[in-house]
């Protein structure tokens, strides 16, 4: 049976066909859909772990115990999981274990474009790189088999254009692959990495890597396609597709496993070609290895190091280097449109984070941000985030700035899911070292940016089963924070009052701004579009400055000021009432004024009444 599957769907299908029984992940674009898809198959335990390191540990434990296991993450997630990835490389596991790293060249939804093939080299772990959905499925199966055969974790490295492209896939059946009854191995020399044991494991790991390199020489995963021998191209991943399109006459060495490096195969290929080039996205990982063999090749001298490749980029660069391309690069006519308005991603209409950023912008405080939808609080007109590095960084950065003596109280903002992911140790540090920062937890009751995944605050698992809900208030108190206040994020006055009270303490404090994401189906059901009273609106523009996409400039102007009146887009407005609260003239009708009281209610949201 043949179906069109995304790379992520194909990886899930491959893991299932390979008999995977345990899978763990933390959501991250472009990897998220792998676990969502896999959780729909029978006979697989899937979980959202609290972070990527935990996910790798979970997979490691399952594979130690004799069950095929998978952990998936975006590229920067492997930074979080790196410590675990390295011990796993030392120990290996009794059953197959595969780690998926979904890299994001061009940073469609990431803070960097690191090339995680480097991690495979670093940890001496084989790395497989599929170049379409069929290979996503096939290589996932292959990765589990290799993992078991060589007693090593295997890194399956994809990129956005693989994860989020859909191409036809031939489906197969599930293989049951249990190596033995599930049992935690009592084999301390292999699984307890104290120095005495780890010293013995290091040579094992190096020998394993050599054996894998030998396999890479002969495995069908690496293949030579002989065509015209005037030009030989070594390539991998999605770049293979661009090469086939743009340089159809060239001979190609397609590397499905470039780490460890099949030096003999590369020498053979190089010997058969007059000119040798390497086409790879991001780092010159293959090119460096080719050069180490003493061979002459061109790679990054022709093709860009930064950003993603595409047929236009490859054709342009190859053409400039005098290579025989399929056709001349298209000269795209200049449309003379220098001033098209940008449409950057922004906080949605009704986003519960808007009120907090409106407040922070008004107070002109310095704010250390974090990773999530709320990073968009940096966009004008709110422009209320001043740093954002990686998951969980904001609280520590805010504390660090406070220790530097900046003469103001720093604020850190962090989402609920990110807080469970890596905010907890940072907040404990704040309490322990008695920092005076204010941490604002933007609790929208879901992991929103990646498409509404459950987390420890929602009380539901990946499989939507009821679970222990970890409440933020007692959690923050248990971490040693004495001042913890929860406020409805839509209530601007209460937000400001709580902010002022906490800022007056000069002690570690947490403000929890709570309101479910406006895009959740149960919230959508309660949307009410607000309206502007034209007679009352003066065109003062205060509501324009909260950056809500549902508030437009009307075609009408105020007779006195000549300024455009506000207009609310009924299709977009959710009825959060933040605009109505900031309006100095009460010119925006509230829910109650538009529909009968019971229908006008917001979606129910439990906000504890307690204040400090």
């Amino acid at each position: 049976m043949r179906r069109i599957l995304s790379g992520n769907e194909a990886i899930a299908r491959g893991a299932w066909e390979a008999g995977v029984e345990i899978a763990a992940a933390y959501p991250g674009t472009p990897s998220t859909e792998i676990l969502e898809e896999l959780s729909r198959f029978p006979h697989v335990y899937c979980e959202w772990s609290t972070n990527e390191k935990v996910a790798v540990d979970v997979a490691a434990g399952a594979a130690y115990a004799g069950r095929r296991a998978l952990a998936t993450m975006k590229h920067v997630g492997l930074n979080v999981a790196a410590d675990s990835f390295f011990y796993l490389a030392s120990t290996g596991a009794d059953a197959g274990i595969v780690i998926v790293s979904a890299d994001d060249p061009a940073m469609h939804s990431s803070q960097n474009e690191q090339d995680n093939r480097r991690y495979a080299q670093f940890a001496r772990v084989p790395c497989l790189e599929p170049s379409d959905s069929q290979e996503c499925k096939d290589f996932t199966v292959k990765a589990f088999d290799l993992s078991e055969e060589f007693d090593t974790p295997v890194l399956l490295r994809t990129t956005t254009r693989i994860n989020h492209s859909s191409t036809p896939v031939e489906l197969g059946e599930r293989r049951e692959t249990r190596v033995r009854p599930a049992k935690f191995p009592h084999n301390p020399e292999k699984y307890v990495m104290v120095p005495a044991h780890a010293r013995k494991r290091h040579p094992v790991v190096e020998e394993r890597f050599l054996a894998l390199a030998f396999r890479a020489e002969t495995s069908a995963i690496n293949r030579i396609e002989w065509r015209d021998r005037a030009l030989g191209v070594i390539t991998s991943g999605v770049a293979y597709q661009y090469v086939r399109e743009v340089l159809p006459a060239a001979s190609v060495l397609k590397l499905g496993m470039a780490v460890p490096f099949p030096g003999g195969l590369v020498r053979r290929f190089a010997a058969g070609c007059s000119r040798l080039i390497v086409v790879e996205e991001l780092d010159p990982v293959i090119e460096e290895q080719v050069r180490l063999l003493g061979l002459t090749c061109e790679g990054k001298a022709i093709f860009p190091l930064c950003g993603e490749l595409d047929p236009t980029v490859v054709r342009g660069a190859a053409s400039e280097a005098g290579l025989a391309v399929d056709r001349a690069p298209i000269c795209v006519p200049d449309l003379d449109e220098p001033s098209l308005p940008n449409r950057p991603p922004i906080l949605c209409a009704g986003c519960p984070h808007r009120g907090v950023f409106q407040l922070l912008a008004k107070k002109r405080v310095s704010v250390a941000g974090d990773i999530g939808c709320y990073t968009l609080g940096l966009q004008p007109p709110l422009a209320a985030i001043h740093s954002c590095g990686c998951m969980g960084a904001g609280i520590g950065v805010a504390h660090g700035a406070a220790t530097a003596g900046i003469g103001e109280r720093m604020v850190a903002v962090i989402g609920d899911s990110t807080f469970y992911h890596s905010g907890l140790p940072a907040l404990a540090n704040v309490a322990y070292n008695h920092s005076d920062i204010l941490t604002i937890v933007l609790d929208n009751r879901i992991t929103a940016m990646t498409g509404h995944q459950q987390n420890p605050g929602t009380g539901l698992t990946l499989g939507m089963n009821p679970s222990q809900q970890i409440e933020l208030e007692p959690l923050c108190r248990a971490l040693g924070i004495h001042h913890v206040t929860t406020v409805d994020a839509y209530d601007i006055k209460k937000l400001e009052a709580a902010y002022k009270a906490l800022m007056a303490t000069n002690e570690p404090a947490v403000l929890i701004a709570r309101r479910p994401c406006a895009l959740l189906p149960e919230v959508r059901a309660h949307w009410v579009a607000l309206e502007v009273v034209e007679e009352t609106c003066t065109g003062c523009g205060v509501c324009f400055r909260i950056g809500c996409p549902a508030i437009l400039r009307s075609g009408k102007v105020d007779t006195k000021s000549g300024k455009p009146l506000a207009l609310i887009d009924a299709a977009m407005c959710t009825g959060c009432e933040v605009c109505a609260q900031v309006c100095p003239h009460d010119a925006i009708l509230t829910r109650d004024q538009i529909v009968p009281a019971e229908q006008g209610q917001h979606h129910a949201c439990s906000v504890p009444a307690e204040v400090d």
């Binding site: 254009r161 597709q241 399109e245 047929p311 308005p341 449409r343 922004i346 906080l347 299709a571």
Partner: protein, 199 residues
């Protein structure tokens, strides 16, 4: 009507407009009609009300790259007028720009720091590209079919008239993708989109 061995489509719009469903169906229709087909899109941050683009390619022999290069799209299907202009450069010389008569004002415009371009810009761009522009009142026809949300299906109906496949080939794929209770609305939306271009 285009009759070629390969087709490149670019779908552009604003996050939340339903471009992903439309590109899924477009890829599946191609595959069902015996083409090799690939599709590429971007999820995540861009979807938060930002500009979004997806690519669909059909080829009688084999599709390699899942993405369409600038200047190579036979059809640009734009769900919004400003996005039609933004991605117009993907259209090949002599290609077709199918544009939804919809304006979604970006915050850069509503906050006063930029101006939404006037209607003549797209015509000028199309003239430069020697491209044909087909305007479709997507939302209006979708509301006529039963819900404004079916605008993406109206637009699919519109581009279906440009391609050498029978109407049933489209409908076979569509009905597998839309919930049973919305079948009638979508059928109407698709037909209205087809007729809008034929007329």
């Amino acid at each position: 009507m285009l009759t070629q061995d390969s087709y490149n489509f670019v779908l552009a719009g604003v996050g939340g407009q339903g471009t992903l469903l439309a590109s899924n169906i477009l890829a599946e229709v191609g595959l069902a009609a015996g083409f090799d087909a690939k599709k590429s899109e971007v999820h995540g941050m861009a979807q938060r009300g930002g500009s979004v683009i997806s690519h669909v390619r059909w080829n009688r022999a084999q599709v390699f790259s899942p993405i369409v290069g600038r200047g190579e799209a036979d059809v640009l299907l734009a769900f919004e007028r400003l996005e039609a202009l933004r991605f117009a450069q993907f259209t090949r010389r002599g290609g077709t720009i199918v544009v939804n008569e919809m304006e979604i004002v970006p915050v850069t415009v509503s906050s006063g720091s930029a101006v939404y371009p006037g209607g003549d810009h797209l015509e000028q761009a199309a003239a430069t590209l020697a491209a044909r522009v087909v305007q479709v009142p997507g939302e209006k026809l979708a509301i006529e079919a039963g819900t404004a949300k079916a605008a993406n299906v109206v637009l699919l109906g519109a581009i279906s008239t440009l391609l050498p496949l029978p109407e049933e080939a489209w409908w076979d794929c569509l009905k597998q993708r839309v919930p049973a209770k919305f079948l009638d609305i979508n059928r109407r939306a698709f037909s209205l989109g087809r007729n809008a271009v034929k007329a």
